[in-house]
Symmetry: C2
Subunit: 383 residues, 2 copies
């Protein structure tokens, strides 16, 4: 198995991008990544693109071909991978396997979602849950995560304020990220007084509806220094599945797929949670940010609330979480999120994260999940 | 790069399967493949599943997680890949890269589509074309392929009867395939007198709307004989992209992605067209079967019509095409087709194809395309 390195990354501005089409959006991310890697587009040998549901959002499947065509990359092999909100993480992993296998040398893994071209994205997003047992009964994602939050509060004494604090810290970081959809600070009071979405979750506990794209360029680790002085190495690429529906789980306060993927990733990298110096977690809702830091092993199960309150997830804390602003502040274009997380971690490891830079980190992690944890992808990167 | 072998295959009955759900259908294919490989489900380390648009057909994305859950395979990593009607071919290729890379040893690549749960599948199928330049203008797939057929007839003198002959030969083979959707013989007259769909294409030039699933089990070539006395080896796995829309092509009578993928496949395998002893081609419409045998190099460009008329594509001809019955007779559950083609070729190479067996073949090819050739996957297999 060949080791793999990252030589270029990009992210478009995230937001309500009504004046840019799906195909232009992802092409912009690709061009920026190519420029970042300082290569020619023609050097790329294959593309993998993560996208959850262009079929439902913009009536377009077969998007990898569309992108290859629009970006002038034909006849390059291009493949779409989908795992709901973890589509980006799996596009990255597919790209890594393509390089590791020797099938391709330089590979681009991208992610894209255009969510604001429909009146109501809720039915499309609900297709990430179990259609027969959840979506068709009227359950939506805020309500699924609300059930998880209620149970976590009941079981571990997690408070409404601790949930709010997770959003507040995200926005504190995101305020320093010019590519974020909502780059402004918020307060605990603002979260607690925002509209109720699904009790106990309020509007400012929820990641927004976002258009956006991101891309990562991969090559064999042994070649990386030909292209850049600051290659970032893939130390682990892990993935796991869980039950798609909540009702079949042994415990809805733990996302088993995150636990499994993290365990596999730590084993691959020969590292432990204490070795991780920054992490981008999948906080589609504030409660999911709390679950993540427990499931990835940074705190004991049930202890995320107090840990966040104590400030350990701040940029200068023991385990900085979501320096980018996370899904809450940076935005959450479903299929692009896993790749945007990777771009942020690469910028952090290169020391190029501007005002939100965490000092001198050597090892970082990304955590991307689909649905309520039917899929989880965990990656570890190092300088 | 590790070489890869196939140790198990399966296909469900193809047809209008109203009394089986999406999740049961693909699980049935998986269980049959596991039985065929004579392994335990728990030995499988990863799954890739090709599906074009469960989002539009059954309102379910995130299907790899759904399948892992329903089939009891969690926490195994499961990934959906999509490239319209080439989704199955790409799921196979992703599985091959996963094994070749060393990331996983035993991998299942499946394909599934449940098309008959909607009143009209046409809008969903049209998302494989360019939404802005084709689908939104009212163009559908029969009309796109009708334009190709018209041009091929004009440019090369291909006759209406030669197109019909392709369907007739498919059905002659498919009549011997108990898993085919339409296992009966048809005549040239029947094709010529069937309802007009998009001139010059008639109903019996068109592959049907089909529910179905298929699966393939892969392992490192060096381990294959531990599992079976008849391993089939992957000699080449190639993929290419073309323009998604027809209007941008240099010539609509050639599918460049097929040409590129075939060229790559021949190079990888160190073989030439004359070495291929049977081929499963992507005949979503009769004209596409003709293009395929030209683009794959079995006859000169423009000569497919006379070649089919001369009988070279019959099971006892120079290059037997679609011993399974092809998309026309076996049926075409979009995301399952590339895997079903593989299953057929494995049965042929093992000598297990029953009444439709081609005698003593050693090397076979599969050709799976998405849309009008925005994606093509070509695989070569050998004993």
């Amino acid at each position: 198995m060949r080791d793999v390195a990252i030589i270029g990354v990009s992210q478009t501005k995230f937001g309500e991008l009504w004046d840019i089409s799906f195909r232009d959006l992802v092409t912009e991310a690709g061009l920026k990544a190519v420029a970042d890697a300082d290569i020619e587009g023609a050097e790329i040998e294959a593309m993998f693109v993560g996208n959850m549901t262009a079929g439902l959002f913009v009536q377009q499947e077969h998007i990898a071909s569309l992108i290859a065509d629009h970006a002038g990359l034909t006849p390059m092999p291009c493949t779409r991978v989908e795992a709901a909100c973890a589509s980006g993480g799996l596009a990255l992993r597919s790209g890594i396997m393509a390089v590791a296998s020797g099938y391709h040398d330089i590979v681009i893994s991208a992610g894209v979602e255009k969510m604001t071209d429909v009146v109501d994205p809720t039915p499309a997003i609900a297709t990430a849950s179990d259609q027969e047992w959840e979506a068709q009964q009227g359950v939506t994602f805020p309500s699924l995560y609300a059930m998880i939050a209620k149970r976590h509060m009941h079981q571990y004494g997690t408070t409404r304020e601790q949930l709010a604090m997770f959003s507040v810290i995200n926005h504190k970081n995101g305020a320093l990220n010019p590519l974020a959809q909502f780059p402004m600070e918020i307060t605990v009071d603002q979260v607690l007084n925002s509209s109720r979405v699904a009790d106990p979750l309020r509007l400012l506990d929820c990641s927004p509806v976002t258009d956006g794209a991101a891309a990562v360029i991969l090559c064999p680790a042994e070649d990386a220094r030909k292209y850049t002085d600051t290659p970032i190495y893939v130390k682990a690429s892990a993935q796991a599945s869980g039950t798609i529906a909540l009702h079949d789980r042994r415990d809805i306060t733990t996302i088993d797929s995150s636990v499994h993927a993290a365990r596999t990733a730590y084993d691959m990298a020969g590292l432990e949670p204490k070795d991780i110096q920054a992490v981008e977690v999948h906080d589609c809702f504030s409660i999911n940010g709390l679950l993540a830091i427990e499931d990835l092993g940074f705190v004991e199960k049930g202890q995320a609330g107090p840990a966040v309150e104590d400030g350990i997830t701040q940029r200068d804390g023991k385990i900085p979480v979501n320096p980018s602003g996370g899904l809450k502040s940076r935005g959450h274009p479903l299929g692009a999120t896993g790749i945007a997380q990777t771009a942020e971690m690469v910028w952090q490891l290169r020391g190029e994260a501007g005002k939100r830079q965490i000092d001198g980190i050597e090892v970082g992690m990304t955590h991307n999940i689909g649905g309520t944890g039917g899929t989880a992808a965990v990656h570890i990167f190092g300088r």
